[in-house]
Symmetry: C2
Subunit: 152 residues, 2 copies
DNA sequence: CTTGAAAAGAACTGCCT
DNA sequence: AGGCAGTTCTTTTCAAG
């Protein structure tokens, strides 16, 4: 586990919100010089605390207005069927995230679709036909708010 | 809704995976010049397709080894209680995402904690005491795989 | 850690096809 | 829309305190 001081936490907090902030700007905000700030970021990358930088897309503007979280319970769940399920679900382009979870369901899937008609197609043709699928529960996302998280 | 051609989609695909890729590198890969690639990215930003660039943290390495998705059903859900709930849940630092959803639950919360003991504290002290909370269902995430999504 | 500077590289601009 | 050439800005590295 990586130890952070308060300055490191402030840096991560700022970059999680906006990874385009320049080390000079960030440094000024923290009372650090540009090279010092830059070195800290580099150190956090090398330590593996920072995994990378990703684009944040507006999926609605791109025509994917529907996001649904699915809870999937497998009918049979030996080691083989988990692997079969994972391999098959990985091939569905509308699935953004596959989580293996503990609880009432075995998997949680984050699925995006153009609209509800499109989602129904994905659900019936792609999800319900996955190997070993038992119960499926759906939660359509109405709105989503992201928070800074525990480093904030 | 924003119309994209195949080149725009290729650009978004690349940047969703790694937002640090240079426009010169990306251009070479697509058979475009650096300025042409850069102008397309700029256009996608101005059109709002690109919302921003965010850090991707390794929460495990930062000491947050537990991620749990909670489904929360409210006991009473008039307009006032939704707002009360949202305001209160927003004040919990361990909550990373608040989703208002349609389905068996009213809200989905993405919660991170240092370990299961820490999670139990958050659940009992913070979540179960939220205004209007009825049923709560938990899914502990064992593993998570991200896929390129429908643009891939 | 700081300041200051220099070098390398990427982002950005203007002009042309 | 894309390409080329040039300018501006950041990042990156270094020296010295």
């Amino acid at each position: 586990m990586i130890e952070l001081d308060e300055t490191d936490r402030a840096i991560l907090r700022a970059l999680v919100a906006d990874a385009t902030v320049k080390s000079s700007t960030l440094g000024r905000r923290l009372g650090l010089s540009q090279p010092a700030t830059w070195r800290r970021i580099k150190r956090l990358e090398e330590a593996g605390a920072i995994r990378g930088r990703r684009l944040d897309l507006d999926l609605e503007k791109l025509g994917f207005g529907v996001m649904v979280f699915l809870g999937v319970k497998l009918a049979t769940k030996g080691r083989v069927s988990l692997e079969d399920f994972e391999r098959a679900v990985t091939a569905i382009p509308e699935v953004q995230t596959v989580q293996h979870v503990l609880g009432l369901y075995d998997y949680r899937l984050r699925v995006v679709a153009r609209d509800l008609t499109d989602f129904e197609r994905v659900l019936r043709r792609r999800i319900m036909t996955l190997p070993g699928v038992g119960n499926v529960e759906a939660n359509v996302v109405l709105s989503e708010e992201r928070r800074p998280g525990p480093l904030g």
